[in-house]
Amino acid sequence: MSANIRPSGVFDVSYAQDISLNRTRTDKIIANGLFVLLLLVPLLTVEGPLGLNLLPQTWIGLMIRIAIFVIAVQGLNILVGYTGQISLGHAAFVAVGGYTGAVLARQLGFSFWAALPAAALFTGVVGLVFGLPSLRVKGFYLAMATLAAQFIIPWLLRYPLTPWTNGSRPLEVPPPTLGPLSFASENAMFYIVVPLSVFLMLAARNMIRTRFGRALISIRDNDLAAEQLGINVFSYKLQAFFISALYAGIAGALLAFHDNSLSLDKFSLGLSIEFLAMLVIGGAGFPLGPLFGVSFVILLTQDIIPNRLLPLFGSVLPTLLPFIDPVNITSSLSPLLFGLILVIFLILAPRGLAYRWEIFKIAWKIRPYSH
C-alpha cells in the first residue's frame, strides 16, 4: 500500500531493502524497542516479581485475550482478507484446536509444548476438509459451507465424541509447565502468548511479501484472471484454508490452556461472527488489521463499555427516563451502546482502522506536503 512512498531523503538501494519489514535503522530500533517494552509490562503489575503496582493487573488479562484473539483473527484475515473466501465457521476451528490440545494433554499425556503444534496441525487438516467445497462454491454460498462447519463440528464434539470432550460439560485443562516452571499465573502465561502472537503476526505480514501471498491476493482480486496467469487456484485456496485453520488451532489451544477449561458453548456462531466483525473493523487484508480490530472490540466491550460508559449511563438514564424500568435500562445498555458505537464507527471508517493507519502513515511520511 505505502510501499512506494518514502520519507524524503530515504532511498532504497537494493531489492532486499525495498521489500524488507524495517526499511531504515530507526524503524528497526523502534520495532525492537516496542517489543521489549511489551515484554516489560507484566513486571510493572502487582503480581509481578517486583510487586510494583504501576499498571493495573486487569491489563495483563486484557492483553492476553487480545493476543490470543489476534492469532485467531489473523487466521481469518489470511482466508478472508488475503484470499477473499468468506468464512462463518472460524469459531468451530478454534474449538477443534482447543479440544485437540486438551484431549492430547489429558488423555495422551502430551505436554503443552507438544500439544500446541499437534492441535494446530490437526485443525489445519480439518480446515482443509471444510475448504474442499471452495472448489465449486463461491461467495455467500461458501460462507454457508463454512457455516455448516460451525454446526457440524460442535455437534460431533457434543454428542459422538462425548467420552473425550465431556459433551456439553466443560473440560478441565492443566496449565502448561516447563520443567519445574508452571505457567498457571496470568503473568507467566503472558510470556507464552504474547511473543507467539507477535511471531504469528510477523509471519502473516511476511506471507504477503512472498509468491504465495501474492497468489492469494490475486485470487481475491479476480480468481478467473489468477487462473489465467497460471496460478493453481484450488490448491492455493486449500492452502489458505489450511493456514487459516492452523492459526485458529493455535488460538484455540492457547485459549484452552489459558482458561484451564473448555466449554463448547464458547465457540458459538456468535463468536464466528464476532471474529469477522473484528476483522472488518480492523481492516480486512491488512496485516495489522487484526491487531487494530481485536483491540478495538475487546477494549470496547470489556473495558470501556462496562467500566466507563455503563456506570455513567446507568446512573444518569434512569433519572432522565423515569418512565422506563431501571432494570430494562441496565440490561439493554451493553448491546445498545455496542451497536450504536459500531454503527457510527462503520459510517466513519468503513474500510477499517488499518486503512486509516496507512493513510496516516503516508501523510506523516510526506509531511509537510499534503500531496
Binding site: 493495573p56 473440560l171 496470568e186 477449561s261 462496562p306 432494570v327
Partner: protein, 469 residues
C-alpha cells in the same frame, strides 16, 4: 443551547447527589437475626459482584434477580447495612451482562478476578458459567454463591472434589432422584412409571440426565428412557419429540428447562390430548411464575385449566403463596412496596433477597473474626461459609458446615395449580381461577404451588455419591 444542556445535566447530577442523604434506620423485622457486629464498618462499601445472562434467552428469569438484589440492597442499606458498611452492586463495575455467551462470561470473570482488591465473594447464575469457571475460582480463591446445582460445576469432573462454589438449590441430578422417590412412593398415581427426559440442549438442560440418576431411579422401579430428546428454545413445534418419547413408552416427561420450555411441553401434551396419560414434571425452575404466566394463552374456559395445571416439580424453598412464613410475608410486602410486576415476583426475586441477606451474615461473621474489612480474603469467607448454618429470611437452610457438601441436601416435591377466586385453594375450573390484571391490560392466572411432600433429604447422586446403587 449548549449552556441550557449543560445546566440541565448539572441540575440532574446535583439532585442525584442530594437524594441519598435522606436515609433512615427503622430497625430490621425480628425474624431477620444477623450476628451481632463487633467491628464498626461505617463508611465502607461491600460490592456484590455477579455476572450472567441478562439480555439473552434466560433474561426472563434473571432480570427479576436484579430487581430482587436491588430492592434488598436498598432495604438493608437503609437499615444499617453490614455493620454500617453499605452494600453496592452497580451495572458495569459490579455486575455484567454476558448475553448468555460463555466467552463474555470468561471475559467478565477475568476482569473481576484481576481487580485490586480482588473480590472475596461472587454470585453466578448459570450452571454453564459455574462449570466453566470452577477451576478458575478455586485458583483465584474466590468463593461463589450460585442457585444452580450441576454436578460438574460444584464437584468437578470426578464429582468428588468440592470446590469454591456453593449452591442454594439441590443438585439437578438429586432433584430428579427425589422426584423418582416421590413416583415410587405413589404407585397408585404412577403405575408402571417410565420417564422420558426432554429438555434444552446444553449444560443446564442436560444436567439431570446422568448415569447415576438412571440407575438410582431404576433401583426404585422407575425407568428413564435412554433416548433423551433435546429441543432448542426457539422451537416452534415439538410434537415429534414428545411423540418419540411417548411411543417409546414414557408416561412421565421430565424437563430441566424453564419458562417457555416446560410451557411448550405442557401445551404439546394437551394439544396431543395426552394429558390424562402423560404427567409433566421438572426441575425447581419449571415450577415458576413465568410458566404460569405463559400458560395464560392456553387457557380457554372450555378447555378447563391451563396446560401447566398439575405440573410437578422440586420446590426446595418456601414460595410466594406460603404467607404464613414471615420471610415470605415480608417479601410479598416489599414487592408490593417496590411496585414489582407479577412477572418479576418469581423464584429469582426470592433468591435476590436471600443472597443479600446471606452476604450480610457471611460478612458480619467474617469481619468479627478477622477484625477489619480490608483484611478479609476469599479464604476467610470460605471458612465462614463452611462453619455457619443460616437460613436467609427463613426461605431455606444454607448449611455447609464441614465443607464436604456444596449443594442444598433438602428438597420437597410440589405441584402447580391455580388459585380459585376466593384465594383459599386451587381452582377447579378455568372460570373459577383467580386472574389478576397486568399493567398491559391483559389478565394473568396466579399459579399456586402446593407441596406434596415435606422437606426431606434428597438422594446424593453425584458419581460415587452415597445413594448411587
Amino acid at each position: 443551547m449548549k449552556k441550557i444542556a449543560l445546566f440541565v445535566v448539572l441540575a440532574t447530577l446535583l439532585t442525584m447527589l442530594a437524594l441519598p442523604a435522606v436515609a433512615q434506620d427503622a430497625g430490621l423485622p425480628d425474624f431477620i437475626q444477623h450476628t451481632e457486629c463487633q467491628v464498626d464498618l461505617t463508611g465502607q462499601t461491600i460490592p456484590i459482584y455477579h455476572l450472567g445472562d441478562l439480555s439473552g434467552s434466560y433474561a426472563f428469569i434473571t432480570q427479576p434477580l436484579i430487581a430482587g438484589l436491588g430492592d434488598a440492597i436498598k432495604f438493608f442499606n437503609e437499615h444499617g447495612g453490614v455493620c454500617g458498611a453499605t452494600l453496592k452492586s452497580d451495572v458495569g463495575t459490579e455486575y455484567r451482562d454476558t448475553g448468555g455467551k460463555r466467552e463474555e462470561a470468561q471475559a467478565a470473570y477475568d476482569n473481576f478476578s484481576s481487580l485490586n482488591p480482588k473480590p472475596d465473594l461472587m454470585v453466578l447464575y448459570a450452571s454453564a458459567d459455574a462449570e466453566l469457571l470452577r477451576s478458575q475460582v478455586a485458583e483465584d480463591e474466590i468463593p461463589v454463591i450460585i442457585s444452580a446445582g450441576s454436578v460438574a460445576g460444584l464437584y468437578g469432573e470426578d464429582a468428588q472434589s468440592p470446590g469454591w462454589i456453593y449452591a442454594t438449590n439441590p443438585l439437578y441430578a438429586d432433584q430428579l432422584g427425589s422426584f423418582c422417590n416421590f413416583v415410587a412412593d405413589n404407585p397408585e398415581r404412577f403405575p408402571n412409571p417410565t420417564i422420558g427426559y426432554i429438555s434444552w440442549p446444553g449444560a443446564f438442560g442436560e444436567a439431570a440426565y446422568t448415569p447415576e440418576t438412571i440407575s438410582y431411579c431404576a433401583s426404585k422401579g422407575v425407568t428413564i428412557l435412554d433416548t433423551p430428546e433435546y429441543f432448542l428454545p426457539t422451537a416452534t413445534d415439538i410434537s415429534t419429540n414428545v411423540l418419540n418419547l411417548v411411543d417409546a413408552g414414557a408416561n412421565i416427561l421430565y424437563t430441566n428447562s424453564l419458562a417457555s420450555g416446560p410451557f411448550l411441553i405442557a401445551k404439546t401434551i394437551v394439544d396431543l390430548g395426552l394429558q390424562n396419560e402423560v404427567q409433566l414434571a421438572g426441575v425447581n425452575w419449571a415450577l415458576d411464575t413465568s410458566v404460569g404466566l405463559l400458560s395464560r394463552t392456553a387457557i380457554n374456559p372450555d378447555n378447563g385449566l391451563p396446560a401447566v395445571n398439575g405440573l410437578i416439580g422440586s420446590l426446595p424453598f418456601y414460595w410466594w403463596t406460603e404467607r404464613q412464613q414471615p420471610g415470605i410475608a415480608f417479601i410479598n410486602q416489599q414487592a408490593e412496596a417496590n411496585q414489582r410486576t407479577l412477572s418479576s415476583r418469581n423464584i429469582a426475586y426470592l433468591l435476590g433477597w436471600s443472597i443479600v441477606d446471606m452476604y450480610i451474615e457471611i460478612y458480619t461473621q467474617t469481619v468479627n473474626r478477622v477484625g477489619s474489612l480490608e483484611a478479609v480474603t476469599g479464604a476467610d469467607i470460605k471458612q465462614t461459609i463452611e462453619s455457619m448454618k443460616y437460613s436467609p429470611l427463613g426461605l431455606f437452610n444454607f448449611d455447609y458446615q464441614g465443607g464436604a457438601i456444596r449443594a442444598l441436601p433438602d428438597n420437597r416435591i410440589a405441584q402447580m395449580a391455580f388459585l380459585n377466586k376466593a384465594q383459599n385453594g386451587p381452582a377447579t375450573s378455568g372460570d373459577d381461577a383467580l386472574t389478576v390484571d397486568l399493567p398491559d391490560g391483559t389478565k394473568a392466572f396466579v399459579p399456586l404451588l402446593i407441596p406434596l411432600t415435606p422437606f426431606s433429604p434428597a438422594p446424593d447422586l453425584r458419581p460415587g455419591g452415597a445413594d448411587v446403587p
